[in-house]
């Protein structure tokens, strides 16, 4: 239990650190990379709560699709976004307001739970160990349902993705210009950027 707690504290610490760094980092690429890190650590936390499917979805959807898409867009645009970070304190009251808006209901829920157990610490006096044994994991159950009850729908989804793939490749591809876009390493390495501002 102690080791599990230690791992939990480690990952939540990394999560809080990377969440702060998302705001603080000077360059938007760095903050996006920290965003990816925070998603990954929260996926680890979900793993520890035995929500494997949700954790994998976190990694696949947020890290794999959205964050990388943002990263790609920011790198493509190459915008001078450094100056935005200087106005950090201007947005602090608004951020504080939103943080309060999230914090108060959460604390309210926690206090309700604490009120139930009539003591400050949530301690379970009785543990049904049989419930804690997992015969099938989360992903296993989803897979069994998906591949047996929803075989047809699953296959159709695959076909839809294939159609969209073919369509996008056709509609965006121009066969006239076959010039490959190559990178210049010197130009990339010569950029100097501060980590914090």
């Amino acid at each position: 239990m102690l080791s599990a707690n230690l791992v939990f504290y480690f990952f939540s610490g990394v999560l809080v650190f990377s969440a702060i760094m998302v705001v603080v980092a000077s360059h938007s690429v760095f903050s996006l990379l920290f965003l990816v890190l925070s998603f990954i650590t929260s996926a680890f936390l979900l793993f520890m709560l035995e929500c494997e499917f949700l954790a994998l979805i976190f990694v696949v959807v947020y890290v794999g699709a959205i964050a990388v898409l943002f990263l790609f867009a920011v790198m493509m645009l190459d915008a001078k976004l450094q100056n935005l970070a200087r106005n950090l304190f201007r947005y602090l009251p608004v951020g504080f307001f939103f943080a309060l808006g999230f914090l108060v209901p959460m604390l309210h829920q926690i206090s309700l739970k604490v009120g139930e157990s009539k003591s400050f610490f949530i301690q379970s006096s009785y543990v049904n160990w049989y419930d804690l044994l997992d015969s099938t994991s989360d992903v296993d159950v989803y897979g069994q349902v998906l591949y047996s009850y929803f075989v047809l729908q699953f296959l159709v989804v695959g076909l839809i993705l294939l159609v969209v793939l073919i369509g996008v490749v056709y509609l965006t591809n121009t066969y006239t210009s076959n010039r490959t876009v190559d990178q210049s390493t010197y130009k990339q390495l010569s950029v100097s950027s501060k980590f914090f501002y």
Binding site: L152, Q153, V163, V164, I166, Y170, Y175
Partner: protein, 514 residues
């Protein structure tokens, strides 16, 4: 829990769809391997005919499906497969067969015109095949989820087909308009399904029928009395999303621009082939699942049906562009079909199928003429026939084609020596059976008005005193085989309508309860 018995060969009732899907994947692999850019123009025609044969083989598989003719009469559980998400009753059998047959006709027709219309990349045919697969799946889907996915397969393919001509800005506009309206329609479908699920706890059509028709179920679950409006709202949303897809009147505005802007071969597909499957699912939802709520969908559909007949008849009057005119015509035809649907009886369902089959036959004829009349011009963009006036003196340059177009137009207008008369008469009779006399009267008046623009095409073909007209490329006889078949059937079904009518009668008798 034993999951192994859920998918058995005994209940594997999607064999034709499976065949179409596998052949689509196979075609994709083969065409990528043979380096299509080099040999593309050579195999284009052969590929289209090959896909036509694939669909004919799918027809063969559908006809020889033992699961369909297992029982006679209405049997609820005999023909369900894939955990009740797919059904092969007589209705699914008939609609699947019709869709496959007409799609294969379609592929045989367009085989000759792909090169002329500069749609020479193999993705076009492949995406068309995927769309046909979605249509066939939609005919047999017994589940709102399966239906949603098949609709998505159809509509995503359709967006690509509409936007396929990359050099034309009209085509891109058509694609984007189609995408936006399609997204709205999908959102409504999902919202409606979630409401239905909230009420009944199932999205299965057969289960919904059991739940809704069971009076005790309502008494036992008293909590759900509160949720009962949910079912009506959900049903309305689902049906309305299908109405958007079918381009019925207040929701038809996208279809005019999409039909005009999309490449003509794609427009042919949207206007003729896709309609039947959506109606099949509409009938499956309304006539089986929500039979007890017939006053809900009957009210909506009779209003919308009359309105689309009205808009289709009066909107086309001042229209001089050929494709937009046919879009209006399609709106009014969908209105007539929905009139038959909204009668809510067996006879109405029969007339719906009858009307749609005749609509597809005459659609094949008319759109073939539009594809085939290419004007002799140097510039590629001037070659295609977009205005009504271009058809002048077609009787001199190609008398047979002009005569066939006249026959098809008479059939669409519903003039007696052709089968369109029976189709329209059946629709009005079914409305009279349901005792909507006033609606029937108004629809007949609108039908008379719409006859004006069909007859005007015939007037342009035959009775204009022009000495100089457009000159068309000559047609090879081999290109007109399918066209001749469809024109033949327009005449044949007038002389012998019982062939089709008995089929439709048996299908509806074995599939629906009321």
């Amino acid at each position: 829990m034993s999951f192994s018995n859920l998918v058995e060969l005994k209940t594997f009732n999607v064999f034709p769809e499976y065949f179409i899907g596998i052949s689509a994947l196979y075609i994709l692999i083969v065409l990528v391997l043979i380096s299509y850019n080099v040999h593309g123009l050579i195999v284009q025609r052969a590929l289209s005919e090959c896909i036509g044969f694939v669909l004919l083989l799918a027809c063969y598989l559908i006809i020889n499906d033992d699961l369909v003719f297992g029982g006679s009469g209405f049997e609820l559980y005999s023909m369900l497969g894939f955990y009740k998400s797919s059904v092969t009753d007589h209705f699914a059998f008939f609609t699947k067969l019709t869709v496959c047959l007409f799609s294969s006709f379609y592929f045989f027709i367009i085989a000759d015109f792909l090169k002329d219309y500069r749609l020479t990349s193999f993705e076009y045919l492949l995406i068309l095949l995927f769309a046909v697969l979605g249509l066939v799946l939609l005919c047999g889907s017994n589940d709102l989820l399966t239906a949603y996915l098949s609709i998505e397969l159809i509509s995503l393919s359709s967006y690509i087909l509409a936007a396929f001509k990359k050099t034309s800005s009209y085509s891109a506009e058509a694609g984007i308009k189609y995408l936006v309206t399609g997204a709205i329609s999908s959102a409504f479908f999902l919202l409606g399904s979630s409401f239905i699920y909230a009420y009944s706890g199932t999205i299965n059509v057969t289960d919904l029928w059991l739940i809704i028709s069971d009076k005790d179920w309502l008494k036992i679950n008293k909590v759900n009395n509160f949720l009962e409006p949910f079912l009506e709202v959900g049903l309305a949303f689902t049906i309305f999303s299908l109405f958007i897809k079918l381009a019925l009147a207040p929701l038809h505005v996208w279809s005019l621009d999409v039909y005009e802007g999309a490449p003509t071969i794609s427009t042919f597909f949207f206007a003729v082939i896709t309609k039947l499957s959506f109606f099949a699912f509409l009938v499956r939802i309304s006539y089986i699942a929500a039979l007890k709520y017939d006053e809900v969908w009957q009210f909506y559909s009779i209003v919308i049906a009359f309105f689309s007949v009205f808009v289709g008849s009066f909107g086309g009057l001042r229209q001089r562009k050929l494709k937009t005119l046919l879009a209006y015509s399609s709106v009014s035809h969908m209105g007539y079909t929905l009139l038959a649907f909204s009668s809510g009886s067996r006879f109405g369902a029969e007339m719906l199928l009858f009307y749609l089959v005749i609509y597809m036959f005459s659609g094949l004829g008319v759109w073939f003429v539009i594809l085939a009349t290419q004007i002799r011009r140097k510039r590629y963009t001037d070659k295609f026939n977009t205005e009504l006036g271009n058809l002048v003196l077609l009787r001199k340059s190609n008398p047979a084609l002009a005569l066939s177009l006249t026959l098809a137009m008479f059939s669409i207008a519903g003039i007696p020596p052709l089968v369109g008369f029976f189709a329209k008469m059946g629709v009005f009779l079914s409305v009279l059976h349901a005792k909507y006399f006033f609606v029937a009267l108004l629809a007949i008046l609108c039908s008379v008005v719409s006859t004006f623009y069909y007859i005007r095409i015939i007037k342009i073909l035959y009775f204009e005193n022009f000495l100089v007209g457009q000159l068309y490329y000559p047609l090879m006889t081999s290109k007109t085989t399918v066209f001749s078949i469809s024109i033949f059937f327009l005449l044949f079904f007038f002389l012998n309508p019982t062939t089709l009518y008995l089929m439709v009668y048996k299908v509806v008798l074995c599939s629906f309860i009321n």
